[in-house]
C-alpha cells in the first residue's frame, strides 16, 4: 500500500488560560490515505475542530501545538517555517468552515476572491487563474457562473456561499480538503446538495476529504472511515460500515442511538448520555468517559484504556467493549428523565 497522504502522530494541542491548561487535543494519531474520505466525529469540546486547526497550523491564541508530528507527504507541518505553511495551506490542503460568511471578504467580488486564492500561490499563472474562475464555479454547480462571479458574497444565499468556498478551496487542486461542519448552518435540502457535491468532487478530482461533524448520518453518507473523538482523544476508529454495525466503545454506541432516525418508525426511546462533556482543564482520572458511561467497571475509574484492536482495521479505547455488554444492561440507557416523586409533589401543589 502506498504511503499515506497525511500522518498525524501523537499530536497534542493545548491552550494556556487563566484557569489552567486546556487539553484540547491530547495525543492523537491517525492516517489519511490519498483519495480517502474520513469523518472525525465528536461533540463540542471533543477536540475535532482543534485537530483540523492544528493540521493547518491555525491554532488560535493562547493555544499551541506542544508536541507530535503532522506529516503531509513526509514533510512535518509542525516544523515548517511560516512561508512554507502558507504555501502548504490553500495549495496542498484547503479548509471549508461552518460559516462561509466569516471566511469570505464581504467587499470583494466572489470571482476576484477565487482569483486571489490562486495567484497567492504560484501553481497557476495570472492568465490561467483568470481562465479557471468560471469553470470552478460551474464545477460546484453555481448557475450562471459567469454573471455570479461578478457578485459580492452577500448577494449569494447560504448554500451558494458554501459552494463558492468549496470552489475557492479547490482552486489550487489540493490533495486534501478539510470540511469543518460544512452544512450545519444550512437547510437540509441545501445540505444534501453540498454533500452530493463533496462526494462527486472526491470521485472526480480524487481529493481526500476530512469531514468534521457531530452528525453521524453525514459520516455514513460521505465517509469510508470514521474517527470518534472524546475529550481530545480518539476513542474509536474504523471503517464506517463496521463501526455502524458493531461499535465497541460505549460512547460511539450511545451516539448512534441518541439521535432519532427519520427512516425508523418505531417510537423507541432514545439512548441518552447522562451528564456533560468533561472539563478539559480538569479531566477525570482513568477513562475520560467513565463519569458518563453506564457500563463502566471499577478499573475504568483508575486506569485509562489503550486503543486496542477489536476487529480488522477497527480500534477502540475501552476496558469493557460493547460486545461484552448484555442486552438488559443496554436497556438501562433509556432511563426516565423525570423524578416521579417530584412530579407527584408538583401535581399535588398545583391542585391544592
Amino acid at each position: 500500500m502506498a504511503a499515506p497522504l497525511l500522518r498525524v502522530e501523537d499530536l497534542r494541542t493545548q491552550f494556556f488560560t487563566s484557569r489552567g491548561i486546556v487539553h484540547a487535543v491530547d495525543g492523537i494519531s491517525f492516517n489519511v490515505n490519498r483519495g480517502e474520505t474520513v469523518g472525525i466525529v465528536g461533540e463540542s469540546g471533543s477536540g475535532k475542530t482543534m485537530t483540523a486547526f492544528s493540521i493547518l497550523r491555525l491554532v488560535p491564541d493562547p493555544g499551541r501545538i506542544v508536541s507530535g508530528r503532522i506529516l503531509f507527504k513526509d514533510q512535518d507541518v509542525v516544523q515548517m517555517n511560516d512561508d512554507d505553511v502558507r504555501e502548504f495551506r490553500g495549495n496542498d490542503v484547503a479548509m471549508i468552515f461552518q460559516d462561509p460568511m466569516t471566511s469570505l471578504n464581504p467587499v470583494t467580488k466572489v470571482g476576484t476572491q477565487i482569483d486571489e486564492a490562486m495567484t497567492a500561490h504560484e501553481r497557476f499563472s495570472k492568465k490561467e487563474a483568470q481562465a479557471r474562475i468560471i469553470p470552478l464555479l460551474q464545477q460546484v454547480r453555481i448557475p450562471e457562473a459567469a454573471r455570479r462571479a461578478q457578485d459580492y458574497p452577500h448577494q449569494f444565499s447560504g448554500g451558494m456561499r458554501q459552494r463558492a468556498m468549496i470552489a475557492m478551496g479547490l482552486s489550487n487542486e489540493p490533495e486534501l480538503l478539510i470540511a469543518d461542519e460544512p452544512t450545519t448552518a444550512l437547510d437540509v435540502t441545501v445540505q444534501a446538495q453540498i454533500i452530493q457535491l463533496l462526494k462527486q468532487l472526491n470521485r472526480d478530482v480524487g481529493a481526500a476529504i476530512i469531514l468534521i461533524t457531530h452528525n453521524m448520518a453525514l459520516v455514513a453518507s460521505l465517509c469510508q472511515r470514521i474517527i470518534v473523538m472524546y475529550a481530545g482523544r480518539i476513542v474509536e476508529e474504523g471503517p464506517v460500515e463496521q463501526i455502524f454495525d458493531s461499535p465497541q466503545h460505549p460512547y460511539t454506541w450511545s451516539l448512534l442511538r441518541s439521535v432519532p432516525r427519520v427512516d425508523v418508525a418505531r417510537a423507541e426511546r432514545l439512548v441518552s448520555i447522562k451528564g456533560l462533556p468533561p472539563d478539559l482543564v480538569r479531566l477525570p482520572p482513568g477513562c475520560k468517559f467513565h463519569p458518563r458511561c453506564r457500563f463502566k467497571i471499577e478499573k475504568c475509574e483508575r486506569e485509562e484504556p489503550p486503543l486496542e484492536e477489536v476487529a480488522p482495521n477497527q480500534v477502540a479505547r475501552c476496558w469493557v467493549m460493547m460486545r461484552n455488554v448484555a442486552q438488559e444492561q443496554r436497556e438501562e440507557t433509556k432511563a426516565g428523565e423525570v423524578s416521579r416523586e417530584a412530579a407527584t409533589e408538583l401535581k399535588q401543589a398545583g391542585s391544592g
Partner: protein
Amino acid sequence: MAAAAVSLEQIDWENPEQIGLWQDAWLRFRRNPIAVGGLVFVILLALDALFAPLLVNFHVIADPLKQNPADSYAGPSLQHLLGTDYLGRDLLSRTMFGARISLTIGLTVQAIYLVVGGTIGLIAGYFGGRTDNLLMRFVDIWYAFPDLLFILVVVSVFQPSLFVIFGAIGLIGWVDLSRLIRGQVLSLKEKEFVEGARAAGSGPSKIILRHLLPNTLGPIIVSLTFGIPRAIFLEATLSYLGVGIPPPTPSWGIMISDGNQAIFAYPHQVLVPALALAVTMLSFSFIGDGLRDAIDPRMRR
C-alpha cells in the same frame, strides 16, 4: 409504550466558581491599573469634597472665602501652601472647595440624564411604533438646539445660580443617553428572554424594570461615567465665561478665569485649577474605559 423506569437523573456537574456578574466585572476592573488609579483619585476627591468644610473648621486649611487684599498674589508659604489669588484668598483651599462644585455638578447632571434620558429611551424602545417615532422626533428637535446657546438663554432668563446651572446642563445632555438606551432596548426586546417574560405573564412595567433596565445597566453606567467629566467641563466653561456659578463660590472655572488676568506674572494661578480639572476629567475617563472593558464581555458562555 411500557412505562419507562423513572429514576431521578441527577446531573453531576463540576462546581464552577460561583460568581455574580457584577463581581466578575469588578474582578476584571481591578486588573486595569490605570482605571484603578482613576478610581483612587476620584475617591480622594470625593473625600476632599465631603470634608473640606470640616478641615476649615479645624484650621487645617484656610477659609476659601476670606479675602486679604494686602496679601494678593502671594507666593507659596507655610500659611498658604500654594499662595493666594488676586484677592489674597488661599489657592489650595479654593482648589479643594472647587472639587465640591465640580463633583456636585457631575453627579447631579448625570442623575438628570438618567431620569429624563432613561425614561424616554426605555419607553421609546419598548413600545416602539408611533410612541417611538414621536419621542425620537422630539429628541431630534431637542438635539438640533445648540447647547451653549440654550444654556446662555436659560441663564440669562433665570439668573445664574447653582440650581439653574444644574438644570441647564442637565437638560441638554440626556439626548445621547436616551438614544443609547433606546437602541439597547430595541435589540434586547427581541431577545427570547423578554418574550419568555411575556409568556410568563409579566406586564410592560415589570419587563422594563426587571429585565430591560438591568440588562442595559452596563452601557448606562459607562455612558454616565463618561458624562461626568463632560458636565464638569461645561460648568467650568460657563464659569470661565462668567455665566456659571456666581462668585464668590470657588469653582475651578472661575479660578482659571481669575488667574487669567495675571497669567504671565503668576502662571500657577491658572495652572493649579487647570491641573485639578484635567486630572479629574482624566480620572473619570479612565474609570469609564475600565468599566467598559470590564462590563462588556458579560454575555460570556
